[in-house]
C-alpha cells in the first residue's frame, strides 16, 4: 500500500519534472526568437534589392557598396551625412569613453580601497545613472545646460549653445557609473595581500599601485571602457536632448531619416553597428571573465 503510493508519487514527480523542463525550454526559445527576430529581419533586409523595406526582391550588396562610396566622396548627400553622423558618434564615443574610464576607475578604486565620510551615499548616487530612465537624465541635462549657459551669458556675455561638447559631457555622466561598477568588481576580487606583499618588499604606495594593482585590474578597466564605448555609440535619448543643431550622431541621424524616407542603407549601417557592438561587447565580457 505504502510502496505503491510512493511509486505513484515518484512517477508523478518524474512527469512533472519532464513537463516543467520542456515548458522552460519552450519559453526560452520563444523569448530568444521574440528578442532577436526583428534584428535578424533587419540584417536580412540590409541585403534586399528593393528600395522598399516590405518586399524581398533578391540579394544585393549595393547598400553596403553605397555606404563605402561615401568614403571615396562619390556618394549622394544622404550617404555623406551618414558618414558625418558616424564620425560624430565615434568622436563622442571616444572622448567620453576616455574621460569616463579615467574617472570611473578612480572612483571604483576609492570606493573599494578607502573608507570615507558619505561613502554609502556616493555608492547609491553612483548607481543612479544606471537605473534612472534615459529620458529623465536627458531632460535634466538639458535643463542643466540651459541654466548654465544663461548664467555664463549674464556673467561674461559669451553665448554658448548645445553641440557635440554637451553630448560628450552627457555621455561621460552616464558612463562613469558603468566603468566604476565594473572596475570596482575587479578590485574586489583582487587579493589584498598582493598589495601588502608589495609594500612588504619595499614598494611605496604609488609603486605598489603602478606595478601590482594597475596591471591586475587592467582587464576590468578595458572591459569597462568597451562597455562605455558601446553604450555611447548606441545612445539615442540622452544625445537627442543634449545635441542641439548640427551635432548629429548616428542613432539620431537614423531616427531623422526614418521620418523622411527609409533607404536600405540604414539597414546596412545598422547591421554594421550591430556587428561592431557585438564584437566590442563580447571582448568586454571575455575580459571580465579572465582570471587573474
Amino acid at each position: 500500500m505504502i510502496t505503491s503510493s510512493l511509486e505513484k508519487n515518484q512517477k508523478l514527480d518524474r512527469w512533472t519534472r519532464i513537463i516543467g523542463q520542456r515548458l522552460l525550454e519552450l519559453t526560452a526559445i520563444l523569448s530568444i526568437i521574440f528578442l532577436y527576430l526583428p534584428i535578424i529581419i533587419l540584417v536580412i533586409y540590409s541585403f534586399n534589392e528593393s528600395r522598399l523595406n516590405a518586399v524581398w526582391r533578391g540579394f544585393t550588396l549595393k547598400w553596403y557598396q553605397s555606404l563605402f562610396e561615401g568614403v571615396a566622396g562619390q556618394a549622394d548627400i544622404a550617404t555623406q551625412q551618414i558618414w558625418n553622423a558616424l564620425f560624430n558618434s565615434l568622436w563622442v564615443g571616444g572622448i567620453s569613453t576616455l574621460a569616463a574610464t579615467v574617472m570611473g576607475t578612480l572612483i571604483g578604486l576609492a570606493m573599494e580601497r578607502f573608507r570615507f565620510q558619505g561613502k554609502s551615499a556616493l555608492e547609491a548616487l553612483l548607481f543612479l545613472p544606471i537605473i534612472i530612465p534615459d529620458i529623465t537624465m536627458g531632460i535634466s541635462l538639458l535643463i542643466f545646460f540651459s541654466l548654465l549657459f544663461q548664467l555664463i551669458q549674464t556673467l561674461t556675455g559669451v553665448r554658448l549653445v548645445l553641440g557635440l561638447p554637451t553630448v560628450i559631457i552627457g555621455h561621460i555622466a552616464f558612463n562613469i557609473s558603468y566603468v566604476a561598477v565594473i572596475v570596482r568588481t575587479r578590485i574586489a576580487e583582487l587579493d589584498p595581500t598582493l598589495e601588502e606583499a608589495a609594500l612588504d618588499l619595499g614598494a611605496n604606495e604609488w609603486r605598489t599601485f603602478y606595478r601590482i594593482t594597475l596591471p591586475l585590474i587592467v582587464p576590468g578597466i578595458i572591459s569597462g571602457a568597451l562597455l562605455a564605448f558601446t553604450l555611447s555609440l548606441d545612445d539615442f535619448v540622452i544625445t537627442f536632448f543634449t545635441a542641439g543643431v548640427g551635432a548629429t550622431t548616428l542613432p539620431v541621424f537614423i531616427y531623422g531619416m526614418i521620418k523622411l524616407s527609409v533607404t536600405p542603407a540604414i539597414n546596412a549601417i545598422s547591421t554594421l553597428m550591430l556587428v561592431a557592438s557585438l564584437v566590442i561587447l563580447v571582448s568586454s565580457l571575455a575580459l571580465q571573465r579572465q582570471k587573474t
Binding site: 595581500t193 612588504d200 618588499l201 606595478r211
Partner: protein
C-alpha cells in the same frame, strides 16, 4: 640586542556597530637576534595580528614595536627591515618566478646585474633553478611556497616573518620543509618569527615558543620548558597530551606536598613551591612518563586502577586506566617487545608507577561538582 621587541602591545579592532574587539592584549616579547621564535596558539588567538603589527600592516592600539632597538610606530611597511612569507604566498600572478623574486630588489633600485645574480642565488638556495620563467599558477603548492621564501630572503632582511607558511602543504612535504626552513635559518643566521597553530611544528623547529590564548601570552620558553613545565592547564593541554588530576593539598612540608585526589587518592609529590593546605591544585602527568605494571607488581605505594580502554597505535599502546570513580589517567607504553603486546586487558587491575618529579603541579583547578558533593556527604556522616 633584541631583533624584535614588543612592549605592552594591544590591538583593538572596531567591528560592525562600533563594538570593540580585543584581538591582542598587553603582549610583551623579547626576541633575540638569530633566534627561531614561534608564536603558537589556537585559531583566532591573535598570532597573525601580532605578525602584522611587526610587519607594519597594523598599528598597535597601545604599546610599541621595536625592531633592532628602533621604534616602529611611524615606519610604513616598506621602510621596515623585515619581510614576510604570507600564508597564501601572495605571489604576483602577472609576474614570472624570476620577476617575483626580483621585485623587492627593483624597489631598492639596485643595478640590474646585481639583481640578476642575487635572484639566481636566492632561487638556487630554494632549489628552483630552471623555473624562472614560469608563472605562479604553473607551479605546485610546494614550489609556490619556495618562491615566496626566495622572494623574502633575497632582500636579506634582519627578520623574516612567517604566517603558517606550511599550512597548505601535505604532511610529508611539510615535514621536509620544516627541516629545510630550520637549516636555512641556522645557515643564514636571520631571526625567524614563525606563526603556527601546530604544536609539533613549533616544538621541532623553535629555539623559543610563545604560547598564546585569546590575545594574551601565557608562557614563553624553550620547547623543553614549555613541554616539561607548562605553567597553566591551557599550555599543558595544548602542547602534547596531558592527564589532569584535580585535588586538595592535605599535607605540606619543606620537601613537598600530598594532594588528595577525589577525596580518596593521596599522591605525594616533591616540590619547592609552597601550596597552603586546603588549596585546590591540578596535577599534570604526561602519558609517556607513567609506566603500567600488573597488580601487586611493586610493593612500594603507587597508584592502582582498572584498565578501561586499550588502543594499539603502532609505536606505542595507549591505555586508559580508571583510578577513582571520577578520574581516569592515560598511560602510553612503547611497544618494545612483540611478546607482551597484549598483556593488559580491559577490566584488569594494574599499578601505575611515576617518577614523582615528573609530575607538574599547577596552583589552579576546580573540583568537579560531584567531587564536592561526595566530600560534603562524607563530612555529614
Amino acid at each position: 640586542m633584541n631583533a624584535v621587541e614588543l612592549v605592552g602591545v594591544s590591538k583593538v579592532f572596531l567591528g560592525k556597530n562600533k563594538r570593540e574587539f580585543r584581538a591582542v592584549h598587553q603582549v610583551s616579547l623579547q626576541i633575540p637576534e638569530g633566534e627561531f621564535f614561534s608564536l603558537l596558539g589556537p585559531s583566532g588567538c591573535g598570532k597573525t595580528t601580532i605578525l602584522r603589527m611587526i610587519a607594519g600592516f597594523e598599528l598597535p592600539t597601545t604599546g610599541e614595536v621595536y625592531i633592532q632597538g628602533e621604534q616602529m610606530r611611524d615606519r610604513p611597511p616598506f621602510h621596515r627591515p623585515v619581510n614576510t612569507v604570507f600564508q597564501n604566498y601572495a605571489l604576483f600572478p602577472h609576474l614570472t618566478v624570476a620577476e617575483n623574486v626580483a621585485f623587492g630588489l627593483e624597489m631598492e633600485n639596485l643595478p640590474r646585474q646585481q639583481i640578476r645574480t642575487r635572484v639566481g642565488d636566492a632561487l638556487a638556495l630554494v632549489r628552483l633553478n630552471g623555473l624562472e620563467d614560469r608563472r605562479p599558477r604553473q607551479l605546485s603548492g610546494g614550489q609556490q611556497q619556495r618562491v615566496a621564501l626566495a622572494r623574502a630572503i633575497v632582500k636579506q632582511p634582519q627578520v623574516l616573518l612567517f604566517d603558517e607558511p606550511l599550512g597548505a602543504l601535505d604532511l610529508k612535504l611539510r615535514k621536509e620543509m620544516q627541516l629545510e626552513l630550520k637549516h636555512m635559518q641556522q645557515q643564514l643566521g636571520i631571526t625567524f618569527i614563525y606563526v603556527t597553530h601546530d604544536q609539533e611544528e613549533a616544538l621541532t623547529m623553535s629555539d623559543q615558543i610563545a604560547v598564546l590564548q585569546e590575545g594574551k601570552v601565557l608562557q614563553v620558553g624553550t620547547p623543553t620548558e614549555i613541554y616539561e613545565q607548562p605553567n597553566c592547564r591551557f599550555v599543558a593541554d595544548f602542547i602534547g597530551e596531558s592527564n589532569f588530576l584535580v585535588g586538595r593539598v592535605i599535607e605540606q612540608d619543606s620537601g613537598g606536598v600530598v594532594v588528595l585526589v577525589d577525596e580518596t587518592l593521596p599522591i605525594s609529590i616533591p616540590c619547592s613551591e609552597t601550596f597552603p593546605v586546603g588549596k585546590v591544585v591540578t596535577l599534570v602527568i604526561r602519558p609517556e612518563k607513567a609506566t603500567i605494571h600488573p597488580a601487586h607488581y611493586l610493593d612500594q605505594p603507587c597508584l592502582a586502577g582498572i584498565v578501561t580502554e586499550v588502543v594499539y597505535l603502532g609505536t606505542d599502546t595507549r591505555f586508559v586506566i580508571r583510578l577513582t570513580p571520577q578520574s581516569t589517567i592515560v598511560v602510553r607504553r612503547q611497544n618494545i617487545y612483540r611478546s607482551n603486546l597484549d598483556c593488559f586487558a580491559i577490566g584488569e587491575s594494574v599499578q601505575i608507577q611515576m617518577a614523582s618529579d615528573s609530575i607538574q603541579i599547577l596552583g589552579e583547578g576546580q573540583l568537579l561538582p560531584s567531587q564536592t558533593f561526595t566530600a560534603s556527604r562524607r563530612e555529614n556522616r
